[in-house]
Symmetry: C2
Subunit: 655 residues, 2 copies
């Protein structure tokens, strides 16, 4: 492995050096290994009863000439297999499994067989439109698809050492490198869905070949330049869209959907398709680091701040509208029609991690934690077999059925989706969780997430095996034990102080310390020895959270949070018509042990219900306000919602 150093930046830890051991997170990680990966393999092979078929494996078999038939699915259907393989790669790093590896090797053989002589690979174009390669980069995801294959290849090679898929990936990357660039015989273009940019950087990190980094830099820098590549391509296509070929478009689409409306360095606010956006910002942050490009980093910070200060839902999700699965504008965070795609929060976590590499600032980790604990895990059911694509702020099942404006908001997690980007994306994130806990720089270890683990960390003059125990998210006690040491032992542990805690007590071997805090991290510099224990106790109690008054949708409302967990009301506990409930400002929030999930803490408070249950018979409008009746209000962690019986759900409650 020829991983490039990041001289001025923080380094992420290799996945095979970290092992998650955590009472909260290990069940998710093993769920991915034991259930999600096998289940998704069945889905890819169209073996899940009553679910939309994936067609992914079949498309590869047809493309490889192993089977007759027609292509089915979206133009980016291949990525379902690639993301699954990436998750498998990560999982094998922690849990070697020869049977799973054999299945993966077979899938890789199939992928290799589907690759064209010149390195190109895409089952849609190979099977269905062989003459039309690279003619509709705006809409058809060819580089996006290859990008996911490259990410899988790097993950799989990293964990298994096997390079068969990496060879496919290099050939495909070389294909792109030949076809795209400033040369007269090259395309001065880029892909409609960003992804290849991140993937090429991973390929660079793994292979050390700088031309992959430079290709990524080219694609990012070219994006949004004038004359517009997408407009020229649209003209060449005569306005014919892949999505509606029978009806030529009269006007070109708005390229802000693709973040290609202006050069990336000039972009001020997050716009367009949310997943595309955060994938691009992630690549920008990576390039800012590797190319030491201050202007690009400044653009990243601007875009980060815009999201986090003006366009972020409280559960760490983004995308205020279903139409275009997109950002809308500052402070527009409607609760009924939001999109909040699971994949977009995963992309936001990617972006946060790279920003943490660029500079240690706990805000990045706070948001990473918020998205991870709330949206990502909310996207998957406890059984590992049902998924949310959209993560609602509130659910009224009748409206999801009966109002087309809310039809995208599912009230129950689905078995699989025709466009199944989210399930394998959750799998690859959860199986690579170990990469998000720490970064290191010189002789400092930064801890960003408090997820119990054992990690082999390399510093300038020390190698340390650290064992982290964490009682989060339910309780605030975390400890880091120095289990093994090589080298000086003289290093700093920089602990993130989460934004959700009021006070934290830090001890070293039982003695209180008062470390300096920089950018949200408590720096404990020490000559560490084996057996040393750094303990932290973060105060952790239920809190009321209010939205900025410019968020019109949340006026007069309050949300409940406890530690990193956002809470919500469910019909299962509170009865139907959750909108009728209100929580007085001075009502005490009680913490109660819940029964239906391990360690679960439920919040309870004395509130009110408006209306007497005879509303069905009452007139639609009346001059008398309905009576207020005392009612106990019960809130449960948002991430666990929808795991009991179906019904209403609501995050924001009237205060």
């Amino acid at each position: 492995m020829n991983k490039q150093p990041l001289p001025k930046s923080l380094r992420t830890i290799d996945l095979n050096k970290v092992r998650i051991q955590d009472s909260y997170w290990s069940p998710y990680v093993t769920l991915v290994k034991d259930t999600v990966i096998p289940y998704q393999w069945d889905a890819l092979n169209d073996r899940v009863a009553d679910a939309e078929p994936s067609h992914a494996i079949k498309n590869f078999r047809i493309s490889a000439g192993l089977q007759d038939g027609e292509f089915h699915g979206f133009v980016f259907q291949d990525t379902d297999l690639y993301k699954w393989l990436e998750a498998v790669g990560y999982s094998l790093a922690s849990y070697p499994d020869p049977d799973l590896e054999a299945i993966a090797d077979e899938a890789i053989e199939l992928i290799a067989a589907a690759q064209q002589e010149d390195g190109y690979i895409n089952t849609y174009y190979t099977v269905k439109e062989p003459g039309n390669r690279l003619t509709n980069l705006t809409e058809c995801h060819e580089m996006y698809t290859i990008g996911h294959m490259i990410e899988a290849a790097v993950a799989y090679a990293s964990s298994t050492g096997k390079t068969a898929l990496l060879e496919v990936a290099r050939k495909a990357a070389d294909f792109i490198d030949r076809h795209f660039g400033p040369g007269g015989d090259q395309i001065q273009g880029y892909d409609g869905h960003q992804e290849i940019e991140m993937a090429l950087i991973k390929l660079y990190e793994y292979t050390g070949e700088e031309r992959y980094l430079n290709l990524s830099y080219y694609l990012i820098n070219e994006r949004g330049q004038k004359p517009s590549f997408f407009l020229e391509e649209w003209n060449r296509r005569g306005g014919i869209s892949h999505w509606s070929p029978g009806n030529p478009q009269k006007t070109a689409p708005d390229f802000s959907y693709f973040q290609a409306h202006k050069p990336v360095r000039e972009q001020e606010v997050a716009v367009g398709h949310a997943v595309r956006a955060v994938y691009m910002y992630t690549a920008m942050a990576e390039l800012a680091i590797y190319k030491d490009d201050a202007e690009l980093l400044a653009a990243c910070k601007r875009l980060w701040n815009n999201i986090v200060r003006k366009q972020l839902y409280i559960n760490g999700s983004i995308g205020s509208t279903h139409q275009g699965e997109a950002f809308t504008f500052d402070y527009d965070l409607p609760n009924e029609t939001n999109y909040s795609e699971t994949c977009a929060s995963i992309g936001l976590i990617f972006f946060a991690r790279r920003m943490l590499q660029a500079e240690p600032n706990s805000e990045y980790a706070d948001i990473m934690e918020r998205a991870l604990y709330n949206t990502v895990t909310a996207g998957i059911a406890s059984d590992g077999k049902h998924y949310f694509y959209v993560n609602p702020m509130e659910v009224w099942p009748a409206a999801s059925e009966g109002n087309p404006d809310r039809r995208h908001v599912k009230s129950v997690r689905q078995k699989w989706y025709g466009c199944a980007c989210c399930p394998p994306n959750v799998a690859r994130l959860l199986s690579s969780l170990g990469q998000y806990i720490y970064t290191t720089r010189q002789n400092t270890i930064y801890t960003h997430l408090y997820i119990g683990n054992e990690a082999q960390l390399e510093l300038e003059d020390t190698k340390a095996l650290i064992t982290m125990d964490s009682r989060l998210p339910w309780h605030g006690q975390v400890s880091l034990n120095i289990s093994q040491l090589e080298g000086s032992g003289h290093f700093t542990l920089a602990l993130r102080i989460p934004s959700w805690t009021d006070s934290s007590t830090i001890t070293v071997n039982g003695s209180p310390v008062q470390p300096e805090i920089h950018d949200g991290y408590a720096h404990i510099k020490h000559d560490w020895s084996v057996g040393d224990v750094l303990s932290v106790d973060f105060s952790l109690s239920a809190r009321r959270v209010y939205a900025n008054p410019l968020v019109r949708a949340n006026a007069g409302k309050v949300a409940l949070q406890r530690g990193p967990l956002l809470y919500c009301l469910e019909e299962a506990d509170n009865g139907a018509v959750l909108s009728s409930l209100s929580l007085p400002h001075d009502s005490e929030i009680r913490e109660v042990q819940g029964q239906w999930h391990p360690e679960l803490i439920v919040l309870e408070a004395d509130g009110y219900r408006t209306g007497n249950g005879e509303a069905q018979e009452a007139p639609l409008y009346s001059t008398s306000a309905s009576e207020r009746i005392p009612q106990k209000i019960t809130a449960v962690p948002y991430t666990l919602w929808g795991n009991r019986k179906p019904g209403e759900m609501q995050i924001w409650v009237r205060e």
Copy 2:
């Protein structure tokens, strides 16, 4: 005129027997005459600068062979001219105008020239798809379009006595009568957009020819029967839609959009496209009366009750979603994404009027009044040249621009629309307002609306000229003066007691009377003489209105109403971020004289604003609630909103 008697029902008054004289309504009526009708004529001739062109007249000229060119506009573009002509017809009944009549006669000549030999008339099919007549009744509005022409013809003949357009209408109706019916050589079908059914009844009422009534009855009874005509037609078209011909549909549309999912008598709830629905219910009510069809009347009552008790916005508008401009389901009345089309409220008024003919019940008139005073007049600007298609419950201009889910909600009235159904619909309703004030039955005069007027009313043994004076909507005093009498003078005045009044004082010639009240009408039986005055004083004060708790969107909120007028908050009075305002339950509502509209009464109350104006700099989420600052809250009549500077608007306020 051979108008058919309605033996068991209430009769509407002929328009030429009523003249509006009212300080509130006369300006609307003269606005239509002086501004709207000339302006719309310019629009029909594509002479309004910066507005979407209508193409309507040009299409007729091309169709009549008077001009070369191509058809432009929607498949139902002809109806813009027809609805304009209908409004002209009504207006001429009250305000003879030889110049206007000459313009209308010329337009009628053009229409006659565009009619085909066999009676068929439709400029789209004649110019653009001559071979495809009657092949896509589901989508292409052929009978709908003819229906509007018939309505115009009856209105114009009624007021001017000229029958040129009536001849065109009869030929067209005869064409439909030949082509549709149970016969083997006929089509067992109906139109995707109901309208012809109402129009044929008007033609029957005017001509006395029962086959027009029977044709309407056939179309209504056939609708929704199995096998589905629309499904069969869809199969014949191979799933090709007029709206997207390049992409054949894979599955047939949901015919509930067209209220054709089941026979009309079996329909329980209002579904689908709201305008289609209320036009159909209107025809059903008419047929229930003329055919003495109790089952059909029962269906009308069921559907009425469903709308009024479960699907009606507080301003008397309907249509909870933009998608399909449609009803959604019970109690689903979102404030941000509603449709509330002006035309749908006009259709609801048609329906209410026919239900009033079927049975006197003040609820029908209450809803008619609510829709008329709030939605219909809100649909048109004070200048008569700008219109709302969608009538919002709340407006945030930035969201109308920046969130595609709210793009249909315009924050400013528009000059004209490509699909310009609403402007001429408003014109025809306002110019025929005289038909909505009274009905008569035997020796009873029912007064439904309190709009000042002079009316010649015919009873069983009396003819009376009644002069009504009304100070509504600003004050509660109404008087009816017996100005002339022929016959016995022994009759009953049945006065509607509006739902918005707490008490009403009724006097005859100054002496209090205590009449019996049946179904919301105070019945004053008397031997009337010329000079007698019946006076009513309705108490009229600002009231708080609450929605049923099952309306989730309005939980914890209050609306203000005074008399028939709904009030709203505007940014012009209250500053931006209206969601930050709250109105305490016990805050006194003060009535204040407004300055920017004649007689205007503005409501004021002491309320609060949350947030200190520094919200732009504040974080998106915080554990401290924003401060509450006292602020005067000002509410203005909803119907007048958007007539000052553009900005936010909101009906429902947090209490």
